[in-house]
Amino acid sequence: MRKLMMAAAMLATTALTAHADDVKEVEMLHWWTSGGEAAALNVLKQDLAQQGYAWKDVPVAGGGGDAAMTALKAMVAAGNPPTASQMLGYTVLDYAEAGKMGDLTETAVAEGWDKAVPAALQKFAVYDGKWVAAPVNVHSVNWLWINKAVMDKIGGTEPKNFDEFVALLDKAKAAGVTPLALGGQNWQEATMFDSIVLSTGGPEFYKKAMNDLDEDALKSDTMKKSFDNLAKLKDYVDPNFSGRDWNLATAMVINGDALVQVMGDWAKGEFVAAKKVPGTDFLCYRFPGTDGSVIYNSDMFGMFDVPDDRKAAQVALAKATLSKSFQSAFNVVKGSVPARTDVPDTDFDACGKKGIADLKAANDGGTLFGSLAQGYGAPPAVANAYKDVVSKFVHGQITSSDQAVEELVKAIDDAK
């Protein structure tokens, strides 16, 4: 035992003396640990290595970033923030408000980010006139992902509105295929509901209800109808959907066990990883009745207020993140589209090209909206209250659309 303790003590000291002031290093917290994502992030790591910066990896997977955000909070509380961290929407603003973020405005001006990055993203990347985060990508959630073989078998065509969508699902049901692949976890249900609201009420209504949290819109008949539409879709889900992970639902579509999944474009990453080709193996359509609008969320690298001797590394990381080459390389793999609108779409597949074009059009036309389910419509307290209500409606704790609307207004009001 004495030996062991001595060994432990020696280890502790050696580990520490090696930890001198090494500024040629970026410390990066993220939850991108799956093979594809890690490979994409490795591009960044190598990019920085060429400039002489080492990469200190702090990966914490789990809960779609929940575990990583908890770790981040602890690191910041201890006064040791990482150089940068993967972050989502309102979290960036929370840390900025608490005075924990750095300032990259100088770099941003020099690199012309103001012009290249859509204004909707700048709302989260810029706080109080200062650039505090580097957006990595733009995801869009109002997509349908369809197995083409099943689609051909049942003789379906692209649904243009909600009723056509229901008719298409009926066809699949008649053919004995699970029509709709859904994972019964609250964020998946709410992500689908984002699209339903946009489809049912149109862009104006979506913005009013889901971004401005306008009470009249939230308790309107249109919102009730949205819940009724959600109830309709629930009839096309297999009985075991509850608790299923989203990628298992995607696998159902990939394998032809189900016709369609309503999911963000990260689902395309799954199809690509399974060596499926858009147009021949699978189809990507906008959620019926939402063409022309984009509900987005975005991964960002929040840049923390680090000591001066680590700032050069941070600037290098931010520059590399928003470089056109990384934006293209990363997003081809991830299924998302670049966070700057001036990246050529040559390397992207058909769905990616459509995504880039749609983003540009929505950005120009003012129909680019934050996803409430993904934390880009309102702060986390509200977004999660919303997910609660949608999920309780899907699983039967809330029994009617009247009650759902009532609960939604109450929950959001409570969380504000």
């Binding site: 986390p380 609660d388 029994t399």
Partner: protein, 317 residues
């Protein structure tokens, strides 16, 4: 281990030639030994509890704010306590805690004691059986949760297997049912903890004075009577340890719920620890999270403190 003991012992020995000093030293020594542990507990447990209580009366959101505001967090929790239709997340959490807490503790204690008594019957193969009952504690629930999730999933596990074996009317979909999902959490929880409870009881059984047992055997007590009247009462301190361990695991059963059910259909599997984590870290409502922690601790103390009080008093006799 010995290094520390000898060095301190040496200090005691050095004072040996002055008897009065030595006597005083001997008197103070036990308290000196206990003092660091107690001080650490005061600071890092009770200090932090005070900190949590303080935060629950502030307007802390994503980060702690140290300006006292009001008791809004408690008012909200109080209101949620009575919202049963549809159930608020807090209502679900506390009702689940009651169901889970009672079933988990009772079943784990009963099964643990049963296995310990059976294993203590001088059986062959104890060396093989004991690790089988114990191993669930060894594995992280990050993964055994997945195995259980599959086994309980009607499309993958038990139900499907039964159907394949020809029993097509077999039906078991608790894990997908908002009213029953909490019982699957009990099953997995008891599976994980009962082996360790068994180990505690086994250690206790083997510490019992054999003379007592011999004496009562001579008196002609039946084995059942022997266990009920003599042995189980002797295991009382073990019950206390087991109860504390189980109660604390029940209260901290956060990963269990997440790994097994991802919160359950519509959040129907939540326990207070999930509530607390969600509100503190995910929803940025730190005041509400802190208030829920305070209520948890207050409830625990309301249950545990009287028990501890009577337990510790009786032993003092």
């Amino acid at each position: 281990m010995t290094s520390i003991a000898t060095s301190n012992g040496g200090a005691a020995a050095r004072t040996a030639h002055r008897p009065s000093m030595r006597a005083r030293m001997q008197e103070a020594l036990p308290k000196l030994v206990l003092a660091p542990s107690f001080a650490i507990t005061l600071v890092f447990v009770y200090g932090f509890i005070l900190w949590t209580i303080y935060l629950s009366f502030t307007n802390s959101k994503a980060f702690p704010k140290y300006v006292l505001t009001d008791a809004r967090a408690y008012q909200r929790l109080w209101r949620w306590t009575f919202e049963s239709d549809p159930p608020s997340s807090w209502y679900t959490s506390i009702t689940n805690m009651a169901i889970f807490g009672v079933l988990y503790v009772v079943f784990a204690l009963a099964i643990g004691l049963l296995l310990a008594i059976l294993l203590d019957q001088k059986i062959r193969g104890e060396g093989i059986l004991r690790p089988i009952y114990l191993y669930p504690m060894a594995l992280s629930f990050i993964v055994t949760g997945v195995a259980w999730k599959w086994f309980l999933d009607p499309g993958l596990g038990l139900e499907q297997t039964m159907h394949q074996w020809g029993w097509t009317s077999f039906h078991f979909d608790w894990i997908k049912n908002k009213d029953y999902v909490i019982y699957t959490v009990v099953i997995a929880g008891v599976w994980q903890a009962s082996g360790f409870v068994m180990a505690m009881f086994l250690a206790g059984l083997r510490g019992i004075d054999g003379e007592i047992i011999k004496a009562s055997q001579i008196d002609g007590a039946s084995p059942f009577q022997l266990y009920r009247r003599i042995i189980i009462p002797l295991l009382r301190p073990v019950f206390l340890s087991a109860l504390i361990v189980l109660a604390h695991m029940a209260i901290k059963s956060y990963d269990l719920v997440v790994a097994l059910t991802s919160g359950g259909p519509g959040g129907s599997a939540w326990l207070p620890s999930n509530f607390m984590y969600e509100y503190t870290f995910k929803r940025n409502e730190m005041a509400v999270g802190s208030a829920s922690a305070v209520i948890m601790l207050a409830t625990i103390s309301a249950i545990i403190v009287p028990y501890l009080y009577s337990e510790l008093r009786e032993k003092a006799r």
